[in-house]
């Protein structure tokens, strides 16, 4: 139990500090650790957890609660939450103080331009890695493709898309 909590803290604490471009960028690494390295959950479990954290309100990174909960109950969820959000929040707090003073500095503009493509690349990487890590039928792949286009090019609400995807799989899956 204690060993599992330590593993959770180390995994998510580390990911917290390299989650450039938001929490989604760490999903491939999270999936690798939870499914392949530690065998805490199966790949379909991971996808289900991902779906639940996207459907619920709040940040998508709350998926760490579900992994922690599966491994070590409420204590696991709590440790995962603090590990995932604590370090990055402390960093954000100090960064905010420096940021304020650097409003017109050249290094701030350079950082902004350099990190934008990194964040965008990580966003795509998370989607691609999730597809790769999940055994799916063609219906599910088609749903992913449809949702990608719908979300990128229309103003349909994400919740409407999520419900639509569930209905399609229930009817045609």
């Amino acid at each position: 139990m204690i060993a599992a909590l330590v593993q959770i803290a180390l995994l998510f604490g580390g990911l917290s500090l390299i989650a450039f471009g938001g929490g989604a960028g760490t999903l491939p690494e999270m999936q690798r650790a939870a499914v392949v390295v530690h065998h805490w959950i199966t790949a379909p479990d991971f996808l289900a957890f991902f779906a639940m954290s996207r459907a619920a309100p709040g940040p998508g990174s709350l998926i760490v609660l579900l992994i922690g909960q599966k491994v070590a109950g409420l204590a696991g969820a709590l440790v995962a939450f603090v590990a995932m959000f604590g370090p990055s929040c402390v960093l954000a707090y100090f960064a905010a103080r420096i940021w304020h003073r650097a409003a017109h500095s050249a290094w701030r503009a350079l950082l902004e331009r350099a990190l934008a493509p990194v964040a965008i690349g990580l966003t795509f990487a998370s989607g691609l890695a999730l597809i790769r890590g999940t055994e799916h039928g063609w219906v599910a792949y088609a749903v992913t493709a449809g949702a990608t286009l719908a979300f990128a090019f229309t103003e349909l609400h994400p919740i409407a898309l999520l419900v639509g995807g569930a209905v399609v799989l229930l009817v045609a899956g």
């Binding site: 749903v143 992913t144 090019f153």
Partner: protein, 187 residues
């Protein structure tokens, strides 16, 4: 505009504002809700301050919207404000996610468990699409040149298709992207 609370809000009203933001954010779009509540409705900061904070939140590692809450809370009420904003934002969503998780873990082998799991597979397939669609949207808004597009593509393929580790890719591509942005500016 509703500027009745303009200036320094109390910790309680900061907390209450972020509780309501947390609950309104079904299906993403959190930043838009944060802006609506903090800038438009309560007038606690102006758009320029908000956008600057939003940019910073994306630069710092971690969940963007949580970082943004830290930024706003800290700006308005220091450390205590940052804590109030983050706890407010996440309190109810945390409870909801934990209940969903408990239902999922106990639904196996129960009647209806297979249906629940099929529905989640469909939602998961959509959720992957939401990530890819977000990437397309952000790319169209923020990438106008070939070099940054290549940086984004190399990162997406090396992690997403070839399965390289996040840390290894960042160790190479963060310096590369910084150097390219620096070179491009000097030209």
């Amino acid at each position: 505009m509703g500027n009745r609370e303009a200036g320094r809000p109390s910790l309680a009203s900061l907390f209450a504002a972020f509780v309501s933001i947390g609950m309104m954010s079904f299906g993403g779009g959190l930043a838009a809700w944060i802006r609506r509540e903090v800038v438009q409705r309560r007038g606690w900061m102006d758009d320029q301050q908000f956008l600057s904070g939003y940019a910073l939140s994306q630069l710092v590692p971690g969940a963007t919207n949580v970082n943004l809450s830290v930024f706003i809370g800290a700006q308005l009420r220091g450390v205590a404000g940052a804590v109030a904003a983050v706890v407010g934002l996440t309190a109810l969503p945390v409870a909801i996610v934990l209940v969903l998780g408990a239902v999922y873990l106990h639904s196996r082998g129960m009647p209806g468990g297979a249906t629940f799991s099929t529905a989640l597979t469909g939602m998961g397939a959509v959720a992957i699409g939401l990530n890819l669609g977000t990437g397309i949207r952000l790319g169209r808004l923020n990438i106008r040149r070939l070099v940054p597009a290549l940086v984004a593509a190399v990162i997406a393929i090396s992690i997403g298709v070839l399965g390289f580790r996040l840390l290894h890719v960042l160790a190479v591509m963060l310096p590369v992207s910084l150097a390219l942005a620096w070179l491009e500016k000097r030209r």
